[in-house]
């Protein structure tokens, strides 16, 4: 009986979160659509050139559906979206889905590598800070974190390039590489740069989590059994702190995805971020809207997955 109730509550919670996710995606799509259409700039004029006759520009706008009212255009966009269609690029003359498919790989790998780096850097730093609370190492880690938050990603990227690519020549300056090993090497510096954008947040939260764990009874018991402080930290504290870290990473994924737009620029990766910026400049509405929806969906789904996982692991969440 208790199990059935818990399942019902969990299903209800999942339903609410799914509904909210759909609403968020529609909201983002609407915001992207409105913002894009209210700012000046005419893609038809851009494609045809300054000397194309006005009649040709108007004909092209009609062909693209830009002559309709804004609500009608948005309705058409949403109707297409529901059918899984994102339209065709005004400039590439290709379906937006295909363009995104060509570019999403670099962005996805960048986010994945950045996430791995973020965890790999944040956990040891948080462990050092937590194990030396209020001592120099703790203050140093926290101070570096604050400074790191203030440093723009492009600057960090350039510094890393100067050191590891230009001077040490260990890694490529930028680009995607032409082989599997080339791709791996190409992702190191951008992955690190993107990771640095969220490492300070992770370190601060993880440090607090670790301090709580360190004060737990089972840690005192572990110490009483004579385990070394290193073993206590690595085996017991870190293992207990890693789940909230992953949850936190999931919640910060939007920030990470957002930072990849800049990181792709700095490292000449032609992923979704690069395509998005070019398409905004060109007022390629279908591409901008398509990428926005895809990125928003990715963020929402990751957040949703994180929420549901957290609720699964911690029943208190789904009852709130």
């Amino acid at each position: 009986m208790i199990g059935a109730t818990a399942v019902a509550i969990y299903r209800s919670y999942t339903g609410r979160r799914l509904a909210a996710a759909v609403l968020v995606i529609i909201g983002v799509a609407l915001a992207a659509f409105v913002l894009l259409h209210v700012v000046p700039g005419d893609p038809a004029r851009a494609v045809l050139g300054e000397h194309a006759p006005e009649s040709a520009v108007l004909a092209l706008r009609r062909q693209w559906g830009l002559g309709n009212s804004m609500p009608a255009q948005f309705g058409h966009f949403v109707a297409d979206l529901v059918r899984g269609r994102l339209g065709s690029s005004y400039f590439y003359h290709e379906p937006v889905v295909r363009l995104i498919g060509q570019r999403v790989g670099q962005t996805a790998w960048l986010v994945l590598v950045a996430s791995v780096f973020a965890v790999a850097i944040a956990v040891p730093l948080a462990a050092i800070a937590a194990s030396r609370q209020d001592r120099f190492a703790d203050h140093a880690v926290r101070a570096v974190g604050v400074v790191g938050l203030g440093m723009p990603a492009f600057w960090i990227g350039i510094v890393l390039i100067e050191i590891f690519a230009v001077h040490l020549k260990l890694l490529p300056v930028g680009g995607w590489g032409t082989s599997l090993w080339g791709h791996v090497k190409a992702l190191v510096l951008p992955g690190l740069t993107a990771a640095f954008a969220i490492v300070p947040i992770l370190v601060r939260s993880l440090r607090v989590g670790m301090l709580e764990v360190l004060e737990s009874d089972f840690i005192a018991a572990a110490r009483a059994k004579g385990l070394t402080e290193t073993r206590v930290l690595l085996v017991h504290v870190t293992r207990n702190a890693i789940i909230p870290t992953l949850t936190l990473l999931g919640l910060n994924i939007a920030f990470l995805v957002g930072s990849t737009v800049v990181v792709e620029q700095v490292f000449a990766l032609n992923g979704l971020g690069s395509l998005l910026l070019d398409s905004i400049t060109n007022r390629d509405y279908p591409v901008v809207q398509g990428i926005t929806v895809v990125l928003a969906s990715a963020v929402v789904l990751i957040n949703l997955g994180t929420d549901l996982l957290s609720a699964r692991l911690d029943p208190r969440i789904r009852l709130q």
Partner: protein, 545 residues
């Protein structure tokens, strides 16, 4: 980091979001191109280019074949159809694959290319072009007159396309056997040869060689030095040597990788880090440091471009010629260039840059004088000054610096300037709706003939932009522009253009600010690289030492 792509484009014609220009008024014949048609052989194009640049990747030495070069370029292609292309990334990619009858050399001269010359009738209504023998498309098919007829007719029929209007003067085109093409014009049109040299009039196999249009452009076939084995609308591409290229032994390189690198810092780091051998769009502020790098050569190529301050004559204060003249007097272009270009640009005198034929250095200009500026303003209807706004394209440091210098320069006249910055697409849409007081932009030419700049910027009625959205309307100037379009005698044309420049300098519809160059950097082992004043480069002459 410059996020605004407009800084990355070479010319308005080729700019993102902007395009086109007064190509109906395209170029008059060059002095070098007599009725027998054209300048020297194409093989000399690289050598002639080096004479026009300051430094650069010299073509000295014996060219070596082989190798791969990586070009980290600031513009990316989106599609490759010459008839539908206008943005820089498209144009500067497709011109490696497709070629026209004539091209513009790095020295800025029309050069015989797929045509070995032409003959024109005495009334300039019939032009007969001889095709170069031995030219084959990259699939081995011989070039025939029918291909030329089909390609140019296709472009002409595309009247709603970016440059479809360009061929308006062509009344009829027909093949004369397999090796000659005869054009009949509707009127004597001096810019005709320049029109023909534009990338939009590049030659494709007739009827796409039997393929569908989509299939053809996915794996394009041209007469150019490079092949594009596959094309997936990605930003990066690798071009392979065309084994059937008509210039024996060229291109020297086996392949050419063009990577899209929009960030200027990344471009420079790729060059200095050895990952790329050529970069475009070098910021002037980086020129000195790059020149100090022994493994890098920085080259400044003259451009058909003049940066201008445009004054909106739909507003009463700028309809007053004394106000316009006062502003022209008040801006010290030498100081402006010194403060912003790091020695790369030259202060402008006349609207037409010196890289264009018929630019007249003797044009009497309103040289900087604050005394003269105050005297002019005193004669105007606004002797005590006024408040105004200056619109600029955002994200480009140079425009921001220009705006601040102009703002300070007009302060002594009590002309109080508020600077407004918009992203480029919004910037263009705004000034094209005349929703501005003053804006900073550039006048450009896309072909080797000054007529384009003259008509687009000065022909209020037919130029296509109402005198570059300034609304400057001087019937005398318009008449002179039209006279030049049908004048085939070079000294007479020079006299007409000198007159135009003098009137425009007096009227001051624009303030000509500076002449900026194209700035490229290459590794020292790159030889034979050159850029024409329109910003194009074909790379068949490039080799690695």
């Amino acid at each position: 980091m410059e996020l605004d792509r407009l800084v990355l484009t070479r010319r308005r014609l080729l700019a993102h979001g902007a395009k086109g220009s007064a190509l109906v008024a395209l170029g008059p014949l060059l002095a070098a191109c007599g009725s027998s048609g054209g300048s020297s052989s194409p093989s000399s194009s690289s050598g002639s280019g080096t004479t026009t640049v300051a430094g650069g990747s010299s073509a000295t030495g014996t060219p070596k074949s082989g190798g791969t070069l990586t070009f980290a370029r600031s513009v990316a292609p989106t599609q490759l159809d010459p008839a539908n292309s206008i943005i820089a990334g498209d144009v500067y990619t497709l011109d490696k694959i497709f070629e026209p009858l004539y091209v513009t050399s790095p020295a800025g001269q029309l050069t015989r290319w797929l045509a070995t010359g032409y003959t024109a009738s005495a009334d300039h209504l019939t032009w007969s072009f001889q095709l170069r023998s031995g030219v084959r498309f990259s699939d081995g098919t011989p070039l025939r007159a029918a291909d030329v007829v089909w390609s140019i007719a296709r472009e002409q029929a595309n009247s709603d396309g970016p440059l479809g209007f360009l061929d308006f003067a062509i009344k009829k085109i027909k093949a004369d056997g397999d090796n000659a093409v005869v054009f009949t014009l509707s009127e004597p049109w001096a810019p005709f040869l320049s029109d023909i040299s534009v990338f939009a009039n590049a030659i494709l196999p007739a009827k796409f060689g039997g393929k569908t249009e989509k299939t053809f452009f996915a794996n394009p076939i041209g007469t150019g030095p490079w092949l594009l084995p596959s094309w997936t609308a990605d930003s990066n591409l690798t071009l392979k040597k065309n084994p059937n290229y008509w210039q024996s032994g060229k291109p020297y390189l086996d392949s050419l990788t063009i990577n899209y690198v929009s960030d200027q810092n990344q471009q420079i780091l790729q060059l200095t880090g050895g990952q790329a051998q050529i970069i475009d769009n070098v910021p002037p502020s980086n020129v000195a440091s790059l020149k100090g790098n022994s493994s890098v050569v920085v080259t400044e190529y003259p451009a058909w471009q003049t940066d201008i301050l445009v004054l909106n004559e739909q507003l009463p204060q700028f309809r007053d010629v004394h106000v316009r003249r006062a502003i022209a007097y008040a801006i010290d272009t030498q100081k402006l260039v010194d403060a912003t270009s790091f020695g790369t640009a030259k202060p402008a005198t006349t609207l037409f840059p010196p890289s264009l034929q018929y630019s007249d250095p003797a044009t009497p200009t309103l040289a900087y004088s604050i005394t003269a500026a105050k005297a002019e303003l005193a004669k105007s209807s606004y002797p005590h000054g006024f408040d105004t706004k200056l619109l600029i394209s955002g994200g480009v440091q140079k425009w921001s610096e220009f705006a601040q210098i102009i703002q300070a320069a007009l302060k002594p006249l009590n002309i109080n300037v508020t600077i407004t910055s918009l992203d480029h697409a919004a910037f263009e849409a705004t000034f094209q709706k005349y929703d501005y007081d003053m804006f900073i932009d550039y006048a450009i030419n896309d072909i080797s003939d000054v007529d384009e700049m003259a008509s687009f910027n000065l022909d209020y009625k037919e130029g296509g932009s109402k005198s570059y959205w300034s609304s400057y309307d001087n019937p005398k100037v318009i008449d002179l522009v039209h006279q030049a379009e049908s004048e085939f005698d070079s000294p007479k044309r020079a006299a007409i253009y000198a007159q135009i420049q003098a009137i425009v300098a007096e009227d001051a519809p624009f303030v000509a600010l500076d002449y900026p160059p194209y700035i490229y950097a290459t590794s020292t082992n790159v030889k034979g690289f050159a850029v024409n004043p329109g910003g194009a480069y074909r790379l068949e002459d490039v080799w690695l030492a």
